[in-house]
Symmetry: C2
Subunit: 337 residues, 2 copies
């Protein structure tokens, strides 16, 4: 029951280590007879190839790291699950790079590609975790795909969602229901996603000829709590909004809580729309109207794009934009006069 190496297997089956290796990685180039012998020996001594030996030789780790601000967030968790799923299908392992927004941790995880511990990075952040000079070209970077929070660097593989358009669609929905005083509760304003959604909000307003009122936008941080406190602030306004555009479902969840506490009925007294369409959305009371994000597709595309880079395959489209669509439920209604 001692840990068996490739040499033991070789000896046991009467072939060379090379042949054992071939039997495992290129079965078709070894004769049926020897293959059988080797397989039997492997089974007999319970041999499992040592990853480090192989990796050291091939310079491939078979792992990737996903650098993500907070695994606890349902949106992030959904994507990472999809990534894990796709990675597993192609024999890759996923290292969890939960950073809690700590730049030190981000860099730590990013450095793993230098030490060879991972073959590539999926990055959910707008900050490139490397030091680069202006002369640095894209192909000097390690395999990397950037998702959801675009970083400002041409040529990097990205899988995104059009946050401006999505926000616009969300707000247009409210406008079409007769709302004019539409509050907005943002996520962290240091993220591109939140900025883009704010831009979309403004564009929708402008297009409908509604004047932008800075008092109606309150900054949150994508967390439930912030949705609640922001809503309380908005309700304290002398002229309160008749609808709320929340930049995440979590925020909407907090908002609903605050609205209930204030004795307001959704959607009769006030409409609310969320963003993400997490699994909670459909079960809120009332069921939340929200922008549906294609988590599964995001993960899938991230992994595909990363794999192409790792395997140095040509990539036709380095920038993938996934559709995001409005999921209308019961939390929005025609404005009551």
């Amino acid at each position: 029951m001692l840990k068996a190496g490739i040499k033991q297997v070789a000896k046991l089956s009467g072939v060379s280590p090379a042949t054992v290796s071939r039997t495992l990685s290129n079965p078709e180039i070894v004769s049926a007879a020897t293959r059988e012998k080797v397989l039997k020996a492997i089974d007999e001594c319970g041999y499992t190839p040592n990853r480090f030996g192989a990796s050291l030789r091939t310079q491939k780790s078979g792992s990737i790291v996903v650098i993500i601000p907070d695994i606890t967030n349902a949106f992030n968790a959904g994507i990472i699950r999809s990534i894990e799923d796709e990675a597993a299908k192609v024999g890759y392992s996923v290292l969890l790079g939960d950073t809690q927004r700590d730049p030190v941790k981000v860099r730590h995880y990013a450095s793993m590609v230098r030490s060879g511990q991972v073959d590539g990075i999926i990055l959910f952040s707008q900050h490139l975790p490397f030091d680069i000079t202006p002369e640095t070209t894209i192909d000097q970077l390690p395999p990397l795909v950037n998702s959801c929070e675009p970083l400002d660097l041409d040529g990097v593989c990205q899988v995104m969602v059009n946050n401006v358009a999505a926000a616009k669609e969300a707000v247009n929905h409210l406008i079409s229901l007769g709302h004019k005083r539409i509050g907005a509760i943002t996520g962290n304003m240091d993220t591109p996603s939140s900025n883009d959604r704010l831009t979309g909000y403004k564009q929708a307003l402008a297009q409908a000829g509604i004047e932008f009122d800075a008092n109606l936008v309150t900054n949150g941080n994508y967390l439930i709590e912030s949705g609640k406190t922001a809503t309380e602030q908005l309700l304290a306004l002398s002229e309160r909004p008749t609808a709320l555009f929340c930049f995440s479902d979590n925020i909407a969840f907090g908002a609903m809580s605050a609205l209930h506490d204030a004795g307001l009925k959704v959607p009769d007294d006030i409409s609310v729309v969320g963003f993400d369409d997490t699994e909670y959305a459909a079960f809120m009371t009332p069921a939340l109207t929200t922008m549906h994000q294609p988590l599964k597709e995001i993960g899938k595309n991230c992994m595909a794009l990363l794999l192409a880079q790792i395997e140095k395959r040509p990539i036709s489209q380095r920038c993938i934009e996934l559709p995001i669509k409005l999921q209308v439920r019961r939390s929005t209604a025609q404005l009551q006069q």
Copy 2:
């Protein structure tokens, strides 16, 4: 800018590779002068030690895998975040073993310890993912800690919560409010946690002299949806329950949704208690009374116990039971006559 190895550093600083290695892992045994030289050279050529070279030599990967049924679940996500945090502190990486309850994936991830890819396993499952014979002794197993869903094997390190006692406390709370017809919505009944909670439920009932009514327990699966459908079933009973004990917050969330649809007010018409105290609990309407699980502590203890095994330190207490306490909020109230 080519990737530098230890040999380049050695040449650049005029020492041997051995000294470079020592400078990095045992700085104190190399003279200050050479240390400085080496450090300067390292900095100059941007050297990062190759993980595989080191791991091959030391037979240590510096990684662990956490095998968990579903990262999307807020409870699981909370624990894994804590594990990642603790692991990072001691220089370990966390491989994400999200299995979606697929035994094949469980075994795949478990096998990583055999291939050397990870040094240990944190397992959230009641099934041991190895083939063992009756003669197998504990110290033949790889470093392993089992959490939340106890596996039936003496001597394995475990960090647990007393689900029987916790459930009992939850139900006693309802009983103390005058409830007698208390519905239960279970999680997956193939898990020990759910069975234990059901046991606790029955014990509390028995202790209060309330007869157990099988009609009042409905099987869910820890997901929101199941909470909703289970509640609908319970409400269809000729004599419906006056309180609901939900085996997870997600279930409670689904239950609240169903109750609202049925026009019932919580807690006036029916009380609800959950289990987990996820971040959503406090913001439900009404705020959910629930059993608080110490996610952070669970993760912390898991990692500590695993590390002790990896480093072959003596372990005084192999079985850790963490306290779980009732968090009373607004979803439970005195039974109205």
